[in-house]
Structure formats: structure tokens, C-alpha cells
């Protein structure tokens, strides 16, 4: 006779010891506020490492747009042999989109990753977001920002527990870039900082410890290079294509400054420069008119199909014929 199989709920077999040990060291659920391109990349990456991800967006329509894009990106990875269909299903199944902050309860870390229009907006909106997050999460939950040009001390200044706030800067494409910049604010405790480092290591990232400073390393250097490339172009020293080619072929960059600006978004580059300029007041950080003119015309880069270059609907650059003048 076949043995009879009984079915029961697993929860009653839980050991009490788990509650005592390790629980605070284990990451199971993370929150993301703002699921634009970088937010989506963080969501995919965290989910592919087995974490449950809850992302917050302002409307159901935005949630659907984020899911559509995540789905499209993962499909592309399958087509290019980077993933299997079952891995994709598992990644999507761990991601949830919500419009209410209350769903962030139970997260061990919440990362703010919103896009805002002006510097004034940026700080005020983020302060409000931090407060909203604090209202629903545990007092040990890490609240982090992915912003680099705004300092974490300022954003966390109105919280009851600013000591758990950290700046955690992923660079796009987050899954492929092996480093993450981690900056502590004035109030950040060692405990919170170490917890964030554990989280970053869980995602397989090498940590670059930085002192709180607008633009930290990556944004300050890249924004300045793009701005300087605009100056060279404006002075008529060389063509856009040749400036890009020089940096790529000469120094091994995968993209030239104009290609990079189009990828980042020219509006974002201007916001970075404005924030850095605001802090340091140096003229070299003042956004070039070449950037401003294009942003006024809504030529923001790949996202709008035109920036310094033109792009097709797949986001591929439409190559212009190169003239070498010889």
C-alpha cells in the first residue's frame, strides 16, 4: 500500500531560534521608491539575488510601465543568452509594485530613486519621501538614497532616526557595474553603514567608501567631462563624433562623452551640474549652453530619440556618415 501523504502548513514548524539569531542580519525584502530606469535596474538585480522587492510608484499606470520595461529588458537578456525563461519568471514573481507607502513595512532597506526637476524640488521632495518611509518602517530599517549630488545629511535632517540613513549610489546598468559608492552622513552610525555594506556585498558589489560630497566620485567626474566636451565642441576644436572617438579609442571608454550624456539624459546631466555648482560655486561646473539648448527643445537623449545624436525606436544610435576632411 502506498504511504498516505498528509499536507500541513509549514509555519507551525518554525524554530524560535530564528527570531533570536541572524534575523536582523538577513535581507529578505527591500523597498524602492521611484521605479524609473535605475529603480528598475536595482529591482531586477535585488530580485535576481533572491530578495523580495516592493517598488513604489505614483500611479497604477506608472507601475505597469515599470513592469513592462522590466519584462522587456529580461526578454532581451533571454534573447541574448544571458538568462533562461524560468529565471525570468522567478525574478518577476519576487517584484511587487505599489502606490501606498504602507506596503514598505517589513523592508530591511528602502532606497529612494526618484527623478525630480529642479534642485529645490529635489531636496524638499526627498525630505518628504524620507519622512513617509520613516512613518511605516521599523526604526532599524535603512533608508538610502541613490542620489549623488544631494547630501544624505540634508535629506535625513528632519527624521526621528537620521542615524540609519546612507547614500548608496548604483551606476547604470546596475547589474553589470561591479561597484557601488557608499557615503555616510553626519549622523550615520557604524551599524547602519555596515548593514548597507552587507547589502551591497549580497548583490556582489565592491564597495567604494566615500565621504559625503555632492557628486562624490562618479557623477562629479563624468558630469565635468561631459561639460568640458561641450566646451570643446562649442569652440569648434573638433566634431562631436571625433571627440567621442578620441575618448573611446584613446582612453578605452566604452562610450564617448556625448554618447554618455545621451544615455544618462541631458536633463539629468544639467541637474547634476547645477547641484555641484551650487555647492562649489566653480565656473567649470556651470552647465554648458550646448546642454541647455537641447534640454529646452526636449532633446534629452536616448529617452526622447534625440539628444546629441539620433536614436531609433530600439534606442540604437543612428550613425551619421563620418567625414575626416582628408
Amino acid at each position: 500500500m502506498e504511504p498516505v501523504e498528509s499536507v500541513e502548513k509549514i509555519e507551525k514548524y518554525s524554530l524560535k531560534s530564528r527570531k533570536k539569531k541572524g534575523a536582523s542580519n538577513v535581507f529578505t525584502k527591500i523597498g524602492i521608491v521611484g521605479c524609473g530606469i535605475l529603480g528598475q535596474e536595482i529591482a531586477k538585480m535585488a530580485s535576481s539575488h533572491g530578495l523580495e522587492v516592493v517598488f513604489l510608484e505614483i500611479s497604477d499606470k506608472k507601475i505597469q510601465e515599470s513592469f513592462n520595461r522590466i519584462d522587456r529588458d529580461l526578454e532581451k537578456m533571454i534573447e541574448r543568452w544571458g538568462m533562461t525563461a524560468s529565471e525570468k519568471r522567478a525574478i518577476i514573481s519576487r517584484i511587487t509594485g505599489v502606490t501606498e507607502y504602507s506596503h514598505l513595512a517589513g523592508c530591511e532597506i528602502v532606497i529612494e530613486s526618484i527623478k525630480s526637476r529642479t534642485r529645490e524640488d529635489s531636496v524638499e521632495i526627498r525630505k518628504r519621501i524620507f519622512k513617509e518611509i520613516e512613518n511605516v518602517v521599523d526604526e532599524k530599517t535603512i533608508i538610502a538614497t541613490n542620489s549623488t549630488t544631494l547630501v544624505i545629511t540634508e535629506m535625513s535632517s528632519e527624521l526621528s532616526h537620521p542615524e540609519r540613513c546612507v547614500s548608496l549610489h548604483f551606476i547604470s546598468p546596475a547589474a553589470e557595474i561591479p561597484i557601488v559608492e557608499v557615503a555616510r552622513g553626519l549622523h550615520t552610525t557604524d551599524e547602519a553603514y555596515k548593514k548597507v555594506c552587507r547589502f551591497a556585498k549580497l548583490l556582489g558589489k565592491k564597495i567604494i567608501p566615500v565621504i559625503e560630497s555632492p557628486g562624490i566620485i562618479s557623477t562629479r567626474l563624468i558630469a565635468t567631462m561631459i561639460n568640458e566636451a561641450c566646451e570643446i565642441l562649442m569652440e569648434g576644436v573638433a566634431s562631436m563624433e571625433d571627440i567621442d572617438l578620441t575618448i573611446k579609442a584613446g582612453y578605452g571608454f566604452p562610450l564617448g562623452p556625448f554618447e554618455l550624456a545621451d544615455k544618462i539624459g541631458l536633463d539629468m546631466v544639467i541637474r547634476w551640474l547645477d547641484n555641484i555648482y551650487e555647492e562649489f560655486g566653480e565656473i567649470k561646473y556651470k552647465a554648458s549652453p550646448m546642454l541647455k539648448k537641447r534640454v529646452r527643445a526636449n532633446h534629452l537623449g536616448r529617452e526622447t530619440g534625440i539628444g546629441f545624436y539620433r536614436y531609433d525606436s530600439e534606442g540604437k544610435k543612428i550613425e551619421a556618415e563620418r567625414k575626416d576632411g582628408c
Partner: protein
């Protein structure tokens, strides 16, 4: 002495609880779909009690916590308290050149296993997740790691070296390591027990054919060559892995498809093998069904699969200057009568007399599938990697 054997995979954990005094399995089971919807733990006790526990198992630690909860539960448990557990024995896939035998998992050993993760990115990290979970939950109970690579550490250098610049071996430890060591150890010994012959005097070829597959030449008790290499991709055609592949093919594909190293790795590990050729499945049963219904690519996949096995058996008979015993094991080796038949029918030249009738009746049980007059014996031996892990664990605990 009671030993819990753990095989921690990416989304599942298999386990067996042994009473080592009589090598009895007190309980065994599996935790499936960890971190996914529909996760469950299924426990079977030796008195026939079977329970399926359903609910959310978010990660390996949660799964192991439930497993320990079940083992000590009054309804379905096998022990009264966790103090009755003497040790945990873990299957660890890659031990690199560092580990030639099983080890007590000290912090230093765990660190070295972490360092070996680069060599087996699909396997060592989930093995480690199991180890970390026990360390967090019951740190007082010793854990032992039993390495898939350890048995093959007896291979001579001319078998394990690749013909690439020697400096790369010195720099990164690039060489062939081989896998499924516990399985090859067990079935080669067990084959000799079955035939009542001396293990240390026989030339044996063991074919472990499961979703992953490898073939080993065991000469006078030692592994002298094996089909897997630095990683488990080399050698046989597997469920989703390519096995042997011209390196030029890979660089050519990377160029043509404009893909990087990660995607190339995924291509040969997850999209290739029987799945890649047949386009249907990585599961042998589904491929055989499709082939029987006239699906050409499934038929091709089967022919390629068997051909690759034949090539390796021929090669290993040559390197050992003959062969006395061939063993089939693993899910396919133990159950697939057609694969065994199609391979063995082409081994007349070795003096092998195949018994088709016995073969057709041997599925999942121990037995000889050659005639009594056959010079080369062919055996089916269900593998028992868990027992080897438990025995190694016991040896180390006793020494301690």
C-alpha cells in the same frame, strides 16, 4: 551517531538523516522552490510517514529552520531534540586544489570554499548558503564539507593539465578537477562489492549520467581521469550544458552575437546540451518520447548523447590499457534502458556480451546487465552520495 546530510542547491535542499550505527536512513526529503511561489518541504520518515509542508520558504535559512523543526516535531519527527544531532555533512561541489579530502568546516575552510566559488559559480554559492544557515541556527553542531572534486585529486598531472601556458595554472589554478566524486567513489566500490572482487586491482569506468553527467576512469582504486574539467561544463552532453566544445566556437559566437562573458557562460551552461539540440526539453524522458514520435532533433540529440559516452568509454579503456567493469548510475544511467543498450551494443570489441533481457528489467535497482560469460562486466548501481557524505562526516567527527 546521527548525521544530517545536506545537498543545498540553488532553489532546493535535499537531505537525509542517518543513524550511523546501522547506516539506517531515519528520514529524508526535499525542500523545493525556495524563494518562489509554491515552496514546500516534503519529509519521509523511515516508518512510512510522509508529510508535505506548504507555505512561504523565503530563503535557504528559512528552509533549514523548518527542516530542523520537522525533524524534532512530535508528529513527524525522528529525533527528540537538536542535541541528538552529532554533525551536519554538506555536499560541496568545488574544493579546488585546496581540498583533497573531506574537511571540518572552520571559518578558514569556509573562506577557502568561498574562494573556490569562482570555479563553480552555479554550485558553490548555494552550497555555502546551506552552510551559513546551519552556522546561524545551530552553531554548536559541527559541520563537515565533502567535496565533489576530492576523489579526482589522484589524477596524474598529464591527465589534469590543459595544454595552455603553464603560468596560468600557477597563477589561477587552471586545470581539470572533475566532479561527482562521491558518486564515482561509491558506485565503483559498490560494483566491486557486488561482484566480490578486489577494488584495488580492477579497471573500472563509471558513467554518472544525470542532469549533469561525467565519466571516470578508476584504475586500481584511484581516479585517473574524468570527463569534467575546471568547471562542470566539460565532457558529456548534459541536460542544458554543452560538454566538450571547440573553444573557437565560443569566441566566434561571442563575436557574432555580440555577447559578453556572462551571457556566453549562460549559453553553454543553461541553453545548450539536450535542451539546446532538441529544442524541446532537458528531460531525457520527454526527448525520448518526442524522438519516438518522429521528432528529428530529439533523435539527433539522443544519437549525439550516446556517441559522446561511447567516445569516452573507448578513451578510458585505452588510458587504463583495458577495462574490467563498466558502471551506469545517476537518473539516466540507472533508469534509461535504451541509452545503456545503444552504448553497450557497440562495445563488442572490448569483449562485452550484453544481456538485453536483463537490461530491460533493470530500472533503478542494482544489477549486472552482461552475460555471465562476458569478459567486461556492466553493472547498474544506484548512486548513494548521501551515504558517502555521512560516512566521511562520521570519520572526521570521530577523529575530532
Amino acid at each position: 551517531m546521527r548525521i544530517l546530510v545536506i545537498n543545498s542547491g540553488s532553489s532546493s535542499i535535499k537531505y537525509q538523516l542517518f543513524e550511523m550505527n546501522n547506516k539506517e536512513v531515519l528520514a529524508k526529503g526535499i525542500i523545493e522552490k525556495i524563494g518562489m511561489h509554491g515552496s514546500f518541504l516534503k519529509n519521509t520518515r523511515n516508518d512510512g510517514d510522509v508529510v508535505k509542508l506548504t507555505g512561504e520558504i523565503v530563503d535557504h535559512q528559512a528552509g533549514i529552520e523548518y527542516l530542523l523543526g520537522v525533524l524534532i516535531s512530535p508528529n513527524h519527527g525522528s529525533i527528540k531534540s537538536l542535541e541528538e544531532l552529532d554533525a551536519i555533512g554538506h555536499r560541496v561541489v568545488h574544493g579546488g586544489e585546496t581540498f583533497k579530502s573531506s574537511q571540518l568546516l572552520s571559518d578558514d575552510v569556509i573562506k577557502k570554499i568561498e574562494e573556490c566559488s569562482e570555479l563553480a559559480p552555479l554550485h558553490n554559492p548555494p552550497n555555502l548558503r546551506g552552510i551559513y544557515a546551519f552556522k546561524n541556527l545551530i552553531p554548536e553542531i559541527p559541520q563537515i564539507g565533502v567535496f565533489d572534486t576530492a576523489f579526482h585529486q589522484t589524477m596524474p598531472d598529464y591527465a589534469y593539465m590543459y595544454a595552455i601556458p603553464y603560468s596560468l595554472y600557477k597563477k589561477y589554478g587552471i586545470r581539470r578537477y572533475g566532479f561527482h566524486g562521491t558518486s564515482h567513489t561509491y558506485v565503483s566500490r559498490q560494483a566491486c562489492n557486488f561482484l566480490k572482487v578486489d577494488f584495488s586491482k580492477k579497471k573500472i569506468i563509471t558513467c554518472h549520467l544525470g542532469n549533469g553527467a561525467s565519466i571516470t576512469a578508476v584504475c586500481e582504486g584511484k581516479s585517473v581521469d574524468t570527463s569534467m574539467g575546471l568547471t562542470p561544463v566539460e565532457g558529456m552532453i548534459m541536460g542544458t550544458r554543452s560538454g566538450d566544445l571547440d573553444l573557437g566556437v565560443l569566441t566566434h559566437i561571442m563575436n557574432k552575437e555580440e555577447i559578453g562573458v556572462d551571457s556566453a557562460n549562460s549559453l553553454i551552461n543553461k541553453h545548450s546540451g539536450m535542451l539546446g539540440i532538441s529544442g524541446i526539453s532537458s528531460d531525457m524522458r520527454e526527448i525520448e518520447k518526442a524522438a519516438s514520435e518522429g521528432h528529428d532533433r530529439s533523435n539527433l540529440a539522443l544519437k549525439m548523447y550516446e556517441y559522446r559516452i561511447l567516445k569516452y568509454i573507448g578513451a578510458y579503456a585505452a588510458v587504463m590499457d583495458g577495462v574490467d567493469i563498466i558502471v551506469f548510475t545517476g537518473g539516466i544511467g540507472e533508469n534509461d534502458v535504451n541509452v545503456r543498450k545503444n552504448v553497450c551494443r557497440k562495445l563488442h570489441y572490448l569483449g562485452l556480451e550484453f544481456d538485453e533481457e536483463v537490461n530491460s528489467k533493470t530500472r533503478g535497482n542494482e544489477g549486472e546487465i552482461t552475460k555471465s560469460s562476458s569478459k567486461v562486466k556492466v553493472l547498474v548501481i544506484p548512486t548513494n552520495e548521501e551515504l558517502v557524505i555521512a560516512e566521511d562526516t562520521m570519520k572526521i567527527i570521530k577523529k575530532k
